[in-house]
Subunit: 211 residues, 2 copies
Amino acid sequence: MPSCCCIKNKPVRSANSSWGAEPPRSPRGEPRPAGTAAMDIEKVNSMDFGEFVDVFGNVIERCPLIAAAVWSQRPFSGLEDLEKHFFAFIDALPPSGQEGILRCHPDLAGRELLRGALTAESLREQSGAGLTSLGAAERLRLAELNAQYRARFGFPFVLAARLRGREAVPRELARRLQCPPAQELRAALAEVKKIGRLRLADLLAGHPAPR
Amino acid sequence: MPSCCCIKNKPVRSANSSWGAEPPRSPRGEPRPAGTAAMDIEKVNSMDFGEFVDVFGNVIERCPLIAAAVWSQRPFSGLEDLEKHFFAFIDALPPSGQEGILRCHPDLAGRELLRGALTAESLREQSGAGLTSLGAAERLRLAELNAQYRARFGFPFVLAARLRGREAVPRELARRLQCPPAQELRAALAEVKKIGRLRLADLLAGHPAPR
């Protein structure tokens, strides 16, 4: 029986994605070994769809469907090619589907963080941006802004937190809260892509994380 | 702070979805109360996107993106209308996206079941079909057929198991293994819709599960 849905005991390690559970589980629900090891594109191209979704299923937050669709486009010539297919899938969706992607994201410094329900990638990113160590007043301020943003746009505020400091987050949130909805949808999707680019770069060897 | 992403302590109960973790968690990673209570369409239409994705995020297996996109189409007139929007989203995807949906499904009586990594809905369905109590020979036979199917079509065999007995599963698998790929993609998506219809019917009051 081929191992189509689990990469345990194989040399390729996952991004240690989690749907908020311990121990970490892949987007297909498989337990995963901790830690991340880089891989080259030949290894990526040799993956069956189960392995591919396990490894890349959270490149777009909580949207393993997108990685599962991108697998159809293999072989990939490299990181940029792989990234191109993820982004092309996002761009081809109708606006409701693009908003759907955003709605699969957690708030920054929000309820999911407080409850330990973030994916491993999101926790790492929010932690790296200092959002896990906010004071009560900062958290409250962000919660208020997040709520206003959700009420205005119908999706949560998404920002590539790794590329910003904790001070920039409420400032950027307050600024984007004033944008026209169509412009803001584009801005939010651009952040989704920045996050995806960084997560992909983490998974592939020899590619520095682009800023 | 509005409760946009959690239905805990609210009258509407979720389908107790799980990404394979205990305690059960929603598609957005929130812990969920156990059990399922029915709801009417007015309640559905009053949900913010966080609640909606928590409740309907696994109508299409491990594809909360689809529920999150469908929320844009509210208000819904009833179960059929809600179902129509889920199915329209699936139908509008390119073939790679439709295959992506299939690739988010587990094998029947496969690795995810053995490891306790099924979603709550999938476990209930496979259990109801008797697939959790197969003998070793039956499991091996299914595993072989599942592997052949995956190798031939590039996605796992999907069947609305609740509508079939355990004897029908390997028979149907062996039959569909012989189908032309384009026909089989259509057949598999029809099964995804049957599963989605049953899951939606479970969540709404007064609607018998259509067969």
